[in-house]
Subunit: 282 residues, 2 copies
Amino acid sequence: MTATSHPLDEAVVLTLSQGPDPQGGTVIWQGQTHPGYANMVGPYGGITAAQAVQSVLQHPQLLGVPVALTINYAAALAYGPFTIHTRPVRTNRSTQHWTIEFVQNDDAGQPQTVITGTAMTAVRRDTYSSVDHPLPPVPSASTLATRRVKNAVEWLNRYDQRLVDGDIHTAWDGSEHDSQSTVWMSDEPPRPLDFVGLTGLADVFFPRIWRRRALRVPAGTVSMTVYYHADAAKLAATGSAHILGRARMHAAFNGYCDQSAVLWAPDGEVLATTHQLVYYKE
Amino acid sequence: MTATSHPLDEAVVLTLSQGPDPQGGTVIWQGQTHPGYANMVGPYGGITAAQAVQSVLQHPQLLGVPVALTINYAAALAYGPFTIHTRPVRTNRSTQHWTIEFVQNDDAGQPQTVITGTAMTAVRRDTYSSVDHPLPPVPSASTLATRRVKNAVEWLNRYDQRLVDGDIHTAWDGSEHDSQSTVWMSDEPPRPLDFVGLTGLADVFFPRIWRRRALRVPAGTVSMTVYYHADAAKLAATGSAHILGRARMHAAFNGYCDQSAVLWAPDGEVLATTHQLVYYKE
């Protein structure tokens, strides 16, 4: 690590602790939370997902590139060290399926699972591709101001967000609104896009329940899925440009609401679609 | 099993084989594919997902009701018996996180993982609920004819589908179209809705890539996520009425495309949102 390394690259440093296990191929990685991505309680969920995908990307038996990732936030990750248990469960000719578990000791020193997840990687072949959900007509990122949040949690400083529509409410009066937000976003400082960076960006949106009903209730992601519609070359072509994200919810029911988002490169290519289930109180 | 039992209820019969393991709580269930839900190769993916959720619902340590499920189709499930390894990885005060694995012997008699998955269950509390994606204006199910498919794979006969828009193409000429389909759907014969039935219905849509581009290329779901926006009472209130599903894709890229769908009760309540990643060839 040097003084000039990007905080995201620091955050996803994983050290080989054990493996690959000769039977199942499990690798145990040692990781740690990064103060630059601190949220209110524990780390920003997007960085945890980025660490999960990194644990797959750095596995010596990796086949292909990420196409799907699901991360479940089973318990609050505490600041400090953790291990990631990353297992290639099934390897076919051109696809590979993974299980992922983050383990952290509890107050009694007992190891506990705090994150569960699955991932799929695949060797992509050049074939038919198309976008059926075009980039909406929006002003370009360069014409919009960076969103400044007063007393922001630390991770918000790691992203440059330029709101197109659906900003967070200023009057918390319980009034109802549509849940959509559209935002140009990039790492801050800028960083060339890759699978780790894209995964972090997939969780940038503030809780949809705060848009839907103007009440700042406790809320947190309990499960997140990312579908990747890009290979390394397509991500590299985006470079450190802002990408456009549009997120909305469909339903809130008795404590849980969903979120769906599309992430576009500025040229209109869809880079990822991503979905969440979010807990909310009240 | 009696002669009058519903094929879905037959398909999700799981027999306790082992457990719960006193350490981790893993239960090993014995299940089997059902000829009534046969697809072209192996069983219909929705029934596999229904069996996965059933393995959680019948676990003696279950807390709450399903709120999220992710199933990865790591390899083709062969017709015949399999085991499901269902583990409550983390139990909190009102939430529980699960891992799920389907295991089947390969030709050499070696056990292989064919399905991986995670689920989350939760005790719901009566609180704020709302729909931010209303049921679209469509004719009621009773005014539409049941869709008949010639030479249909067997599982299609287990669902009554009444197409509103976005039917499968009749001319496979490679022309491009929007990927949306809207359909009223129910089990056939009718069956009161529950979590198992809703999970099966989440996968009913034909591959979006066949709508997007009128070419009937090989395609199959590799990962499916269901977010449940209902409790048992809300599902029971829907009874055996048709529910409305609307599905679309956002992007296809080099062999994989996504699918997102919303499932509504006829009264406009959102019952589930569901997402897939689908492999396609050519």
